[in-house]
Amino acid sequence: MTVSATFQAIKNDFATIEGVLYQGATRPSPALVVTTHPRSRSSMTGFPGPDLAARGVDTLCFDNRFSNSPAGSDLDTIFEELALDVAAAVQHGRDLGYRRVVVTGHSAGGPTMAFYQHLATHGPAGLRPDLSLSGFAGFIDAAGQPRQLPAADGLVLRSSTVGTAASFLIRLDGSVIDEHSGRRDPRLDPYAPANGFDRAQGEAHYEAGFLQAYYRAQAARMQRLIEHAQAALEAAAAGDGPYTDDAFIEVPRTRANPTTVDLALATETAEAHPLYPGGSRVQIRDRRPLNSEQAANDRCTGAAIHRVRAMLSYRLVQVDPAAFDPLSPEPDGTGIDFLSSNSSTPTSLANLPCPLLILQGTADESNSVKLTSAELDWRAAGSPDKELAFIEGGMHSMLPVDPSYGDTRSVCADVFAAWVKARFA
């Protein structure tokens, strides 16, 4: 099917952004799908825009204010501000005449869109500035009134994280015990042969005792980062810092999630779910390959630097070191205080009434998404119409982990388009 792509310079009450509208030959489209990613290079091209349009579902792929801030350069990304750009895109869709709009996000785009829909649905009443580290209380208009954002009609998460802060937590290197010097405890080094890592193979077999200590150390490091960030802001406010408004925080070694190198972890879902192609309901087995991202852990590309206010909004979340379990499929089983970050996907999904589809590949090699994270999001969701669909052999990008799985992106787009048509046609 022919797909047209037209550039959209978007300027409305919410923001100035830009996008590309992919339209198929079939009119009218049952809904407009709207997508962006918090930091990737331009979101305007590539999957799934042309793929969905070819299946009769128009898609607007847009860039937001933080687009093209690849990991490590997302210095001033304030998570909540992304909602204004999503609002601009949704409003643009309505202004173009689309009656139905579905918001969708990939990876960190998942929490972005989930938060958007949560805020648009519930307004400031859905926020907990008393509990969140950012203290965000909602957008205010020129007259001092809460800004109402246009809610979408459906939400689709693709290879979604459980939050930009929670995903940061699960890949934090727990062996760093002093942020200033970078000093490390070798007993907690996930890339030390003594702890189960095989340097030649790039693969690990960790013992339960090591993992338990490691998770505690990750959580303790997160708590130290929070204290450090809050102290830096207090110092700035008191005039004791280098700046009067904010501060920088540098975090080395943030690529150390045990699951990327130990394939014996997170191997299956807790219960049965539809598996595509076919859609039969089975317990899902993980097919992920080893991830060599640990090579970046001791490099600048494996470090993060943020303004403290951005860090508090985007990368920090409270967690109980004694209870932290990154692989629990239950929100309450993780030990993470999801209410402390607005980027928490489970919190945003908990009270959403709109239809929800979660798409997840069974071969997700990323350092922040596993079968269990998709299941966790699905279990947390309050929507009466929620589906969790797995794509066999799909990696984080939804490309196939090996050619034997066929065109996994096409399978994913088929499921996505059919879901939209079933609800909005």
């Binding site: 310079a9 830009e18 331009s42 860039d63 093209n68 970078g182 280098p242 904010d246 080395p252 600048c300």
Partner: protein, 436 residues
């Protein structure tokens, strides 16, 4: 011309040089053989792709391609990983794409920090890797060859396609020069917030008036201040090089690079003292009046002292590699003069950086147009004269001032009329007479 339908098509460009995206604007009923290319080293994508004058030129017969580069959307203070030299590959990708579309004349347009970018690109395209002086600049960059992963045919030097003309609109003197010009000399220790009183731009004893936010500095203070700025830059360069050497020796906190945080970078005397950079040295075309001395009508930058103290505007962070390539520049022992109008007088070692506008314009031979608004608070009148003077190899060079125009060419007050329209007319005349 009004009422003509301009088509704006979004294009993803992928070729041997790079992968970029941009918007091509043209009048489908009247194909042009000339295209003007615009990008900015760090502007927000939405601003970049919709940059003035790219929206207005197609109706006047000049097609435009506004495109993003690898560092687009790295707004000031977030250019953490911006390394200067690779920009050229993204410009090359755009030039190549336009040639392949059939455009016979490709013109590079650089606004603000885009000025040094297009100067650098054209110099590199005309002369090849020789411009990198065998890696003797602070970045150590030697060229797009096998060692950097970019190879030309046969594994040799990668030559980039040259453009047919270069336009600088309110172009800075370079990304290192512009950083130096606003570096706060009162900071003697990068790890301490303590300010050296005798070099404090915002201390009333030195001529600053906290009430109005303006200043009148005397020559002795300014002379000491400029020396202090270059001394701080040298300390930063030395510190970053020493730390980079530690990393290279395997003794860094990280294995490949590190991050330097620099505070208090909004402290340029001319931003608060309007007696500085007040007129041109020579007489030039000043629109709409004709040939005369250009006189500044800029205003004091409001809230400048507060901006300098805030991280939001007065702080930045760079990887070592980024800083040395993009923001570092060396002086010629104590002779720095930010308002010099010729290369010999500016007191800078232009061979220490690949991001100097005058340093690169010296190698540009294609037609060159330099425009500066006289009310610009960031790019001062002498910068235009310095750029013009440096382009000695260019047989067709012009410098034009627009009276009362700010950094974005909008008028500072309605009394100056439609300065953008004047500038647009100038562009159309300049382009039409040369290329159409």
């Amino acid at each position: 011309m009004a009422g003509r339908e301009i088509e704006a098509s979004y294009r993803l460009v992928e070729n041997d040089f790079g992968r970029i995206d941009g918007v091509l604007r043209r009048d489908p009923s009247s194909p042009s053989r000339v295209v003007l290319l615009e990008t900015h080293p760090r502007a927000a994508s939405a601003g970049n792709l919709n940059a003035w004058p790219c929206l207005d030129l197609p109706a006047r017969g000049i097609d435009t391609f506004a495109y993003n580069n690898r560092y687009s959307n790295s707004t000031a203070g977030t250019e953490l990983v911006t390394v200067w030299e690779p920009f050229a590959l993204d410009v090359a990708a755009a030039v190549q794409a336009m040639r392949e579309l059939g455009y016979e004349r490709v013109i590079l347009y650089g606004h603000s920090a885009g000025g040094p970018l297009v100067s650098y690109y054209q110099n590199l395209a005309e002369h090849g890797s020789a411009v990198f002086r065998a890696g003797k600049t602070l970045s150590g960059f030697t060229g797009f060859t096998g060692s950097t992963g970019f190879t030309g045919a046969g594994g040799g030097e990668l030559r980039l396609p040259a453009a047919d003309g270069v336009i600088l609109q309110n172009g800075t003197a370079g990304t290192g020069s512009s950083f130096l010009a606003r570096l706060d000399a009162a900071i003697l220790d990068e790890d301490s917030p303590v300010r050296e009183t005798s070099l404090d731009l915002f201390d009333p004893r030195n001529g600053y008036d906290p009430g109005s936010g303006s200043a009148t500095y005397d020559q002795a203070f300014l002379a000491a201040y400029f020396v202090g700025q270059t001394a701080r830059m040298r300390r930063l360069v030395d510190q970053v090089r020493a730390r980079a050497a530690e990393v290279a020796a395997g003794r860094g906190r990280l294995a490949d690079d590190g991050v330097v945080v620099i505070g208090n970078i909004r402290a340029e005397p001319a931003s608060v003292d309007l007696a500085l950079a007040a007129t041109s040295a020579g007489t030039w075309e000043v629109l709409p009046h004709g040939r005369q001395t250009a006189r500044s009508n800029r205003l004091v930058v409001p809230g400048y002292a507060g901006r300098n103290a805030r991280l939001d505007d007065g702080g930045t962070a760079h990887t070592y590699r980024s800083f040395l390539s993009y923001r570092a520049i060396l002086d010629v022992a104590g002779t720095y003069d930010p308002d010099a109008t010729d290369v010999a007088g500016c007191g800078l070692d232009l061979a220490s950086t690949n991001a100097s506008t005058p340093g690169n314009l010296a190698g540009v031979s294609v037609p060159l147009l330099i425009t500066v608004g006289t009310a610009d608070t960031q790019v001062h009148i002498p910068y235009g004269e310095l750029a013009y003077a440096s382009a000695a190899a260019c047989a067709d060079r012009s410098l034009v001032f627009i009276d009362g125009a700010e950094h974005d060419m909008r008028p500072i007050s309605p009394a100056f009329g439609d300065t953008r329209a004047m500038h647009l007319d100038l562009l159309v005349d300049w382009l039409t007479s040369r290329y159409l």
